[in-house]
């Protein structure tokens, strides 16, 4: 049972996300501020942390920096805005994904599964296990870009990936190139068909 830590200062949000995750079979820890979240990462070593950007004591980014340097817990962000600056900051600090509130449980579970898989791949990489399958799926930026497209166009994960792939045809740098530009906040009009 993968362990997931959910951090949000609003218990209403915590309840929605953690209930969905518990039903999906995860072992969930939840807390509403940043400092205890760090200690939970140290003690409980969750497989993934979902961090709200705005917390009452320290920011989600600060939590992320600390757990990145002190633990091996991978994390994704949760925010009320799909603000470019925040997305960029999230990528820089090493987030595996970015979810925009309000979150729907039906959409969050696949996103979390992807992040967990990614986290596992990173562990495998670190262990020197080269048997990793699809290289393109290893790209964190691609994943973030898919998250953005999901949010922006109200699509599920597979549809968002299709949009990214379709739009990347003939694009310099392919999917990864387009993804990079998208998360850097460039205004790119995507064609949806």
């Amino acid at each position: 049972m993968p362990k997931i830590l959910v951090v949000d200062d609003d218990l209403a949000v915590l309840a929605t996300i953690s209930l969905g995750l518990r039903r999906a079979g995860y072992h969930v820890f939840q807390v509403d501020s940043g400092l205890p979240a760090i200690q939970i990462c140290r003690r409980e070593k969750p497989d993934l942390a979902i961090l709200d950007m705005n917390l009452p004591d320290i920011t989600g980014l600060q939590v992320a920096q600390t757990i990145k340097s002190e633990t091996s817990t991978p994390f994704i962000f949760l925010s009320a805005h799909s603000d470019e600056g925040l997305v960029k900051a999230a990528v820089e600090v090493g987030a595996l994904g970015y979810l925009v509130k309000p979150v729907e449980v039906a959409r969050i579970v696949p996103a979390i599964e992807v992040a967990l898989k990614r986290a596992d791949e990173i562990v495998q990489l670190r262990l020197g296990n080269a048997n990793l399958g699809d290289e393109s799926m290893l790209n964190r930026e691609t994943d973030m870009a898919i998250g953005l497209i999901m949010e922006r166009h109200q699509l599920d994960r597979a549809a968002a990936f299709d949009v990214l792939r379709a739009n990347a045809r003939g694009h310099p740098g392919g999917i990864a190139g387009l993804a990079q530009r998208l998360i850097e906040g460039e205004k790119i009009t995507l064609t949806l068909d």
Binding site: A12, A15, F29, I40
Partner: protein, 1014 residues
Amino acid sequence: MNAFDKSAIVARELGIDSNEIANRKHFLEFGDLDAELLKGLQSQQQDYEEVIAAAFFNHLLEFPQIRDLVPDAETLERLKSTLSTYFRSLTAGEYGDEYILTRLHVGVVHKRVGLDPKWYLGAYRKYLSHFLFELWKLYGDDHEKFLKTYDALLKVVLFDIGLAIDTYHHADKQEVLQFEKRLQSLLDGIDAIVWEADLDMHFTFVSHQAQDMLGYPLARWTQEPEFLRDIILPDDRAPVISSLFVEMADGRGHDMDYRVRTADGRIVWIHGRVSTVRDKEGRLTGLRGLMVDITALKDAQKKLVHLASYDELTGLPNRSLLQDRLRQAMVQADRSGDMVAILLLDLDRFKNINDSLGHDVGDVVLQTAAGRLIGILRDIDTMARFGGDEFMIMLTDIARLEDITPIARNAIECLALPFTVGEHELFLTASIGISVYPRDGKDVQTLLKDADAAMYRAKESGKNRFEFFTAEMNSAAVHRLQFENQMRQALARQEFVLHYQPQADIDSGKIVGVEALVRWQHPEHGMVPPVEFIPLAEETGLIVPLGEWILEAACRQAVAWQAAGLPELRMAVNVSVRQFAEHNLTQVVERILRETGLAPSLLKLELTESLFMQETEGMIDMVLGLRKLGVRLSVDDFGTGYSSLSYLRRFPVTSVKIDQSFVRSITTDPASATLVRSIIGMAHEMNLRVIAEGVETEGHLGFLASHRCDEIQGYWLSHPLPPDECAAFIQRFAGLPALGESEKPLERLLLLVDDEVNITTSLKRLLRPDGYRILTASSGQEGLELLATNPVGVIISDQRMPAMTGVEFFRRVKDIYPDTVRIVLSGYTELKSVTDAINEGAIYKFLTKPWDDEQLRDHVREAFQRYELKQENVRLGRELERANAELSEINRDLEMRVAEKTEQIRHNVSILQVSQEILEHLPAAVIGIDDDGLVVIANRQADLLLVPGGDGLLLGANAAECLPPALATFAAEASDETRILMLEDGRRASAICHRMGDLCKASGTIMVLNLIDT
């Protein structure tokens, strides 16, 4: 499928087509000449075949295996005939497709009945031998013909035998094929990988499930030498491989569970079953086995283990797991000499959150609280949920008791931060009981019991704190348990009694109500006050039946007093949050009112302030339901909770009760005074009555009266009394002392405060001629006491007094009695402190000693004028307010009555509409005629029957004109008889006519007509 179809399939499967037939014939050199010769044989018209068949069967029946196949004579005859027909066809000369199929069919049948080829060959031997003799007889002289015919016979028989052997062979092959197919489908049907390997564990065979289950192509299994080793997870690799070879070396099969990684990266649990393969000599030649995916089973097992040891809601260890860990920690501590601490943490009043906001909110608060607590623990500490709102924290490696304190404090502090749920903030506190191993107990049960006792002590001492266990708590805990049990029995044993505390109306000075207060007449401990058992009753749920008993007993008492001739009293009864949570409170109250006969308006339910903060749908409905019954609703302990009246706007409460903690200090604590004043003001603005409890001195009463509080309750009036004493008190009560300023409108009351008696004396002498009533006090404290009971207008105080300076005194007075006019008289100038006080408005004038007599008198006179002007304004304001309040009370009553009336009318209208519809569709004509002879009722039948052509309406017409004369006359008589009348068109109708007014106030006549079929 008929026999030929089947033969055709066999022919097709054997590849016997016309080409093949030609081939075979060619190979046997079986040509047209042969056919001719055979046909010629047939033309001899000899019954060779019958003879051969008979001889053959005679021969056959000598063999027991064959005898079994021939049950009776009839079958024998049939078989003989079949065989002779068969033999005859050999010489028929036609050897085309049909012939072939017939031959094949014979083979199929023989195979089916189990006739071996040897019997078949035997028959041919008989046939050929017989014909040898017959042909010799027939063509013996023509050697050439004899030899050629016999040659042709040999060819056709061998052609036939060839086909027969093919059929047998084909049938055997089919059997093998089918067997193989069954084996394959069996293999396919196994939900596991089936494999074989050589002694080096190189796979020689794997079933295709290997690809389906793990995703690796089958070729990799058989081609890569270390394939199994590679896919097994590193942790499991060594044991699996070594046991494989060890068991193999010992020649044993074995079972094992291990994990493999699938091609897409998943981890799958495998149950492997391995057995050895040996050759005929018993030498080991390889291995074979099964691999079953048991991931789901492993997950389920893991989940079961988890469920048994972890709390489902929070994911924390549960009680039993923590106890295990505690045992381990105790062993560890024995070794290291350290201590183990257990902290039993109980969330205070958590029940309220569940009761009021629902379990969903309760659950998320618990889960988040768990998260916060984990967040303050050290890595070595363990936390568990003990169920409900209890958590247990175990601290190990504790060297000094002082090391426990910061963690307990952190736990309380981390929970004290607000919990945000959407727009709302919830506040939690916790009480913690701590016991320490080995200091407080040597075993788990004792330590838990000690922590529990310490936690209860923390609760008793005001909650939101931690307590270490002490030996003395042990007896307290035992006592508490006994007490709880006794309380459960007390209700049945009727040990609870009610006392009543009178409530007086300040305006009228009369007793207008009582509050019912429960007491426990304990058989051993005597009268137990409610503070000692109500919280426990709340906690255990006993408050629900107890509350119901109180309500019923109080209502009966109220009715009894009424019957005994006591003045009308309102009975106030406390209702607990827990009773509200039962959802049937409205029905309970309704039933009790009905059964006791108490007027609803004489029952006042006192609800605690916290209840109103919850605002759940059910709660609002229930309050509305209670109010609809007509009972009064009061907010108890007002000011202790949110201290906000705004939420009350949503509830139809009728009064608020100011908590006694404020009332007790209104004359000494400016904050309390201000609060009480503003509560009264706001409540009046919302047209709520205000009652103050805890009134203990005349000073309290004076303050409350001067601020227009409506009612008082407290020791000053009376302690709670047993029913008889209370009745006696009420009958004796002469009224509150007159306090209203209106009764002494002209008295000017002056207060002089100075610690030097000669000053007060000389001031008194100076000012007495001006007609003031003068009070003197020697300190600020004394001054405050006098102010509480006297409507003082002007105060002159010395600045320099030992306990409280004049300015300090005035600052308090200003807050408590802002209307008073305050003058400072000082021996020397302490300008700084005095100016501040003047700027704050605490001081009206500052005069220096020695004073100018005339100037002082002027100042005092002026001060009184100022005071009286203010008073007049206040009085006018209050009168206005009172008038408004009365008006709105009247309005409210009116609104309620209008609402009731409207409801009644709506009900009547709907009854009327129903009646109208019934009338309209009645299968009889109904006509109503008023006293003026106008038709006022006419249903559809009436119009159809009486209006010619069916158009037009009777309604509104003059009966004499629109009705046939016979009917009109009959109607005028209204004799209540049934009569048969002739209508104008010749139809007859039975009619009855009735004059209205038997059951209702209506007048006029009603006539009912029914056509009679002729």
